[in-house]
Each structure stands twice: as C-alpha cells, then as structure tokens.
Amino acid sequence: MPNALQLTGVSKSFDGFKALSDASFTVKWGEVHALLGENGAGKSSLMNIAAGLYAPETGELLIDDNKVQLKGPADAARERIGMVHQHFKLVKPFSVAENILLGLPRSDGSHRKRLRETERLIAEKAEQIGFSIDPKKTVADLSIAEQQRVEILKVLLAGAKILILDEPTAVLTDQEGERLLSTVQGLARQGAAVILVTHRMADVKRFADRVTVMRGGRTVETLDPQQVSIADLVKLTVGESLPAPAHARSEPGPALLSVRGLKSPEIGGRRILDGIDLSLRGGEIYGIAGVGGNGQSELANVLMGLPEPSEGEIALEGFGDLRTADMDQRRDLRIAAIPADRYGLALAGGLSIAENFAIGQVHSGRYGPFWLLREGRAREETQAAVERFDVQGVRNVRQKAALLSGGNAQKLVIAREFSREPRIVLAHSPSRGLDVRAGAAVHQRLLAARDSGAAVLLISEDLDEVLALADRIGVMSAGKIVAEFERPADRQAIGKAMVDHV
C-alpha cells in the first residue's frame, strides 16, 4: 500500500516545553493506524501538525510522498486531511446540515438551495457508511455519539481521505465505540487512511492494522498489533520502570479526610462518579492516576467545594461533612485548593497580582477591617510572597495576573493557598502546561507541605508526576478507584489498571 501521509523528524515546543522531539509517523492508504500513548505523550500535538493547526519547528510533512507545507486547516482540507477533535467543534443551535455546510467550500446557488443539496449529500453519505442521522435536526438536540457522527460526516463531505480521529471513543459507551470503530474500519477498507489517536489497548488490538507508540514527545516504535501482547504495549507506552527518585517517606498520621461511596447523580444510565472510596492521611501524598475524563475533574470539584452535585460521605476529621463548609470555613480549616483550570477557577486574570493574592486572607481581616481595605499592606505581603515563592515576571504587584506565564501563575496560586500552613492540600494537575523547572518547583511545594504534616491529594493524568510524588496511588477509572498501590509502585501494574477497567 502506498504512503498516504508521512511526518518525519518533527519537533515542536511550547513555552520552552518540548512537546515533540524528532517524531516520525507514516500512515498508508487503506489502513487504520493507531497512535498510542499516555496523556501528554505528544499524540495530539503531532496530529494537530498533520491537520495544519500547528506549524512544526523542524521536520517535514509528506502527502503521497510529496513534500507539502500546511499554512492552516484550510490547506489541510485541500490536501484531503480531516481531523475530528476530541472536543467537537460544532455550532450547537445550528442544524446538522447547516453545520456541515459551514465547512464546505463556497459554491454557487442560493443558501436554501445549497442547504437542500447538503441535506441530500448527508443522507447519501450516512446511508453509504451506515450512520443514521437526520440532517434537519439541531445539533444541540443530538447525543454525544450523534454529534460525533456529524463531525465525521463533516470531514468526509469536505472531501477528506486522510481521517484523524482524536480519542473518538473517550466519550462513547462501549457499544457506541465499537460501532464507530467498525464504521471507521470500513472506510479504511474502501481506501481511506485512518489515524486513530487513542490510549485504549483493546481498541488498538481489535481495530488497528498498525500501531505507533508515543512516549515523551517521541515516536517509540511502530508495530503490528496482532504480533504484540497488551502487556508489551503497556510497557512501551509507559516506559521502563525507573528507579524511584529519592523520596523519604514520612510516617503517615491519622486519616484527615475520608470519602465513602461518593457518587454523582445518574444521567443517561451513567454515573460520572460511581462510588469513590479513599482516605487522606496527614503527612502523606495520595496520588490519583488515571486516564483523563474518568471523573477526576468532578471529584476535584466536589472536594474543592465547587458546584457539583454528589451523594455519599466526605468526612473531615473534627468537622463533619466537608460539603457543608463554606469558603470561609474552608480557609479556617486550612484547606488549600489548586484547581486544574488556573484562569477559570483560581485567578481573575483581569485583576492585579496583589488583588489575586490578597483575596485569600482578606476575609480574616488581615488587610484591615471591613470598612477599610489596607491595600498598601496587601501589596507588601504580596511582594514578600512573590519573592518567597519565586514568582517571576512580576515588575509590579499591581500588574494584571493575566500577564503571568502559566508556571508563574501557578506559583502565585500556590503562594496564596499556602500562605497559611495548609492542613489539607487538594491539587488537580498542578504541573499541567508548566515547563520542567516550574513543574519541579510545584512538586517541591507539595512535598514540603506533606513533610510539615499536611494531607495532600494529587489528582493527575501525568503518571510520572504521580509516581514521583505519591506515597499511595489510587487508580481512577469510570468513576471508581479500581486499584490502590503503595510506594514503590510498579509502573506497569498501574498502567494496566488504568486501561483494563476502561
């Protein structure tokens, strides 16, 4: 089979973080080629380059063995490359046909005529590949699986022959996922080239003709999935077990926070949180590993006191149900929260660094009584904290927090949250998007908090981070803690637990 799309020696970095280094990848006409790797392995970055969304720093892109340069997604579409993103890019209030018409090149005729024509094309294509979809229906009324079909039809009708699907089964039920993958396999049999970005071993084994494994921004190996065991694939994805870094284990104290049977309300026969049990002990880091989208965000929201419906027990030692605590009480209980969405939940980008810092303790009257906010004092303390926590890029604490880089914004969050010796630390993906140095600084802070007796919960999709920091590790899958490991934990065993239960 001839080569459809080929990427050679591709590198790309973001803010000094090397997302891809010397990655190479080839997909042939008529095959389903799986791209396997952990979160942050560089799968999506590589595919975004193939789809013309990012420009590579080095390396080449070849289509039908001819070198091409993509200046944007429109160029990619012209080269018949179509990508279905993990987060759908659909206009919700528009109908299916209108959404698809948006992505088609402009043609003659009135809008009404073109819409009719598109509806006919959709019906025809859907029939041909075995989708059932009503082109007149509004996208907002469709289920997730149906929306995904719209996305696929959109790229197919735009003429795509090289199809990139980014984690297509992550949002689907097992049956839906299976149906989708067999459809996609059918497309490949008719001559298309399909790239399946995934972390599910089972899908790879069943539906892929070849698989390329990525790890740490590199393409490790390309194999025939039939010739290799799942265990070996896991090993390739998570890498060899490294010797545990120096990590003096401190003696854990009593349980400070116990979660029992935590569930979210049932929606469509599924619970996002489906009976979480865990306990946090003082002087210990409890890491939650798992593939993204298995309920980690919801768990983080519930524990951090953000609006998130839940039932079950969250008992805080000496207080009672944590959910009844308002934010003031949470501060008094010295609970520090480092949410994953920095500018959505932790910092107001439009306000100054000093305001963002001072809001942490202003409730206690530290910066003057209610009727008088002592801004000078808040600024002084912010300045001191900025220095103590090494927040860089601060010329003046009055500058907007949005001007800080990701790592420094995170340091500012930590400076605020740790300004009163925390007793419980809740951290969700605390080093996501940070470069190695900033990430290491964040890790130091978490370890220091643990050593001073705090109970630390670290929810992260980065297995390396969890392995490096956690004293105990719970693996989260489909809303449950499916396995627990004591340090030193076996990387392969964790990797297997992460994917086995999906």
Binding site: M327, D328, A337, P339, A346, A358, P369, F370, L373, L403
Partner: protein, 373 residues
C-alpha cells in the same frame, strides 16, 4: 497574481504607496495610561461639540454667540451653575446606581421603577403626616431609600434563585411602578385643590431646603452619594469582592468571595440610590409627586454608567456633563427657539462621540506592510 502585476508596472515605482494598497491592522490594547484615555475622551467630546455647533449654526444660531451661550452662560453664570448642579444631583445618583449594579453584573434597567417607588414612599410620608415635623424630611428620605431598595429585591432574588433574566424583570417592573403612580395621582392622591393629576404640594419643611446662596441641599446629598459609592467600590473590602464578582464570578466563588451576598447587597444599594434620586426630584425639584417626574432618568443612568465604565467618580463627572447639556439645551430652546428634538439630537451626538472613543481606547490601529511592498 502580484508577481504578474509587478512585471507590468513601470520601473520607476512611485515613492508614496498608493492609498488603496495600504493595509492596517487592528489590535487590542492591553493597557493605556489614564492621561491618554482622558485625552482621547476630550478629543471625542470636542469632536461631538463641533458637529453640534455646525448643526446649530445651520439652524440659524449665530456662531459667535454659541460659545457664549453654551459655555459661558451655562457654567460661569451663577444662576445657570446652580441650575446645572441642581439638575445634576439626581442624575449623579441614578448614574452611580447604574454603576454599582453593573459592577455586580446585574443589568438593572429598573432605575426608573425604583425612582418612582422612592417618590411614592416619600409622598406617602408627607401625605399621611408620619412623624413630627422636625424629622419628617429625614423620614421621607429613609422611606424613599427603602422603597427603591425593595423594588430591586425581587429581580435580584429571581435572578439568583430561578435564573430569571433581570433585564426583562427590572424593565417590566418599571411599567408596573409607572402605572401604579398614575393610579395614585389620578385617583386617591389627586391634589384636591385644583384636581390636576399630581399629589398635594409638600409642606415647606418637607422640601429639600436651600443651603446658602440658593444652592439646594440636593447638591451635598449627591456629593455624599458619590463619596459613599467611591468608598464602597474603592476603599472597603466589599469593593475587592465586587471586583472579583465583576471579573469572573466562578473564580470569585472558588476563592471564597461571598458572591451571593455581594450581588444582593450591591443591587439593593443600587435600588436604594435610585429611590433617593426619586426623593430628590420629588422633594427638591417638583415639591410634589407628579406623573412623569422620573422620565428619562433610567436611560441617563444606564448611559452614564456605561460612559463612566462603572466608575462612580467618573460617573459624577459624566452626570455633570449630561446636566450641562440639559440646561444648555433648555437655554437654547428658550432663547433661539431651537426645537426640543434638535436639543435631543445634539445630546445624542455627543453621547455617541464619547461612547465611540471607547473603541480607540481599547484598540490600536497600526499600519502594516502594504500588499505590494
């Protein structure tokens, strides 16, 4: 394409780039020093005044007298200045009421309804002779504040509890208040003396007194309101909370700002200030409850808050400007028989000019390389 056209062009290329091939990029500014902002505002104000002057001259007002009439007579004549300040007092209050509510991300379009209730409550105190004469005026003030505040309570609770859009609820409540006012002044509260549709005149001690030199008590009251609002948003802790609610309510909630309390409190304050404005118009200007005393104030309040970017001190200045336009317009009407619609046209022109200056404050236009360079 461009290579082709290059080839056919004469070798002696003109030095100046033709205007049509120049290209400009529009960028969003991060920040701008305040004096530049002030300069841009001033330029746009002058631009608006220039257009207005041209219109007035075209309508037959002698150009030379225009400056006299507009600037000198309005601002440097004691009588007119008194009128401007007096007129500005309730406008300052509604403007600030708008600022506060908008800062809490609450689109209070019910300023007029809250004013009406302020007026009704004050009149009720007068009509039913509540309390001794010495405290009557203070009682009227308190009643007006509470009534305005109460009229804002339902929309804010509806919004927070049931997600009812406050734009609709506050706007519709205006009509209820206005029709209830008509019901009163055409019915039970009609002045028995002459049967006109307004309430009986307030007694002397129920009216805002003149302080000195003919300046009404309404003026220091407006100053107090402005100072209070400045303290509220800039000095006290609630101001910091309010900035967080304004910047990002989700972040505010997550970092422990009592978002609900802040929103309810601020909106009630907004309603209360509008109530006071109603009291000031009734007890200061009209001396009774009339059927249309509130008209135009709601619109002015929203406009002022928008132009002042919800800053209470800036709102005070803008309110003074609006009052000046109002008084100058009245003078123009009287002395030059300029129709009222033209006065409105001029006011609208100036407002549009000032409002569009916002675009230049937030954006930068930068010339980029031309197509053929």
């Amino acid at each position: 394409m461009s290579e082709l056209s290059n080839a056919t062009r004469p070798t002696s290329a003109p030095k100046r780039q033709p205007l049509t091939s120049r290209r400009y990029a529009l960028e969003i500014r991060q920040q701008m020093a305040w004096h530049w902002q002030a300069l841009i505002l001033a330029v746009s104000l002058i631009f608006g005044l220039g257009i207005s002057a041209a219109i007035l001259i075209a309508a037959g007002v002698p150009g030379g007298e225009l400056l006299d009439e507009f600037v000198i007579l309005t601002l440097f004549d004691a009588q007119s200045l008194r009128a401007v300040l007096f007129q500005a007092a309730p406008i300052v209050m509604v403007g600030i009421a708008g600022c506060l509510a908008f800062r809490a991300r609450f689109w209070n379009l019910g300023l007029e309804g809250q004013m009406i209730w302020g007026g009704i409550a004050a009149t009720a105190i007068s009509l039913f002779e509540v309390g001794p004469e010495s405290t009557r005026l203070a009682l009227m003030f308190v009643a007006a504040t509470l009534a305005g505040l109460a009229w804002a309570l339902a929309p804010v609770l509806l919004k927070l509890n049931l997600k009812v859009n406050e734009i609709i609820s506050t706007l519709m409540l205006n009509y209820i208040a206005a029709n209830f006012l008509l019901h009163l002044v055409y019915g039970a509260w009609k002045d028995p003396k002459d049967s006109f549709p307004y309430s009986p005149q307030y007694r002397a001690f129920e009216r805002l007194p003149e302080m000195f030199d003919g300046y009404s008590m309404a003026i220091p009251l407006a100053v107090l309101v402005a100072l209070f609002a400045w303290w509220f948003v800039g000095v006290c802790r609630a101001g910091l909370y309010l900035r967080f609610v304004d910047a990002n309510p989700r972040v505010a909630d997550a970092v422990g700002v009592p978002v609900r309390k802040v929103i309810v409190g601020t909106v009630l304050l907004s309603g209360g200030l509008a109530g006071i404005a109603g009291f000031v118009v009734a007890a200061g200007q009209e001396g009774r409850l009339t059927q249309a005393f509130y008209q135009g104030y709601g619109f002015s309040g929203i406009l002022i808050a928008f132009l002042a970017r919800n800053n209470p001190l800036a709102a005070t200045i803008v309110a003074l400007l609006v009052a000046t336009l109002f008084v100058a317009g009245r003078n123009l009407q009287v002395f030059y028989q300029i129709p009222f619609s033209m006065v409105q046209l001029i006011q609208a022109l100036i407002v549009i000019c000032v409002a569009s200056s916002d675009f230049f404050i937030r954006h930068r236009i930068r010339r980029i390389a031309g197509r053929e360079s």
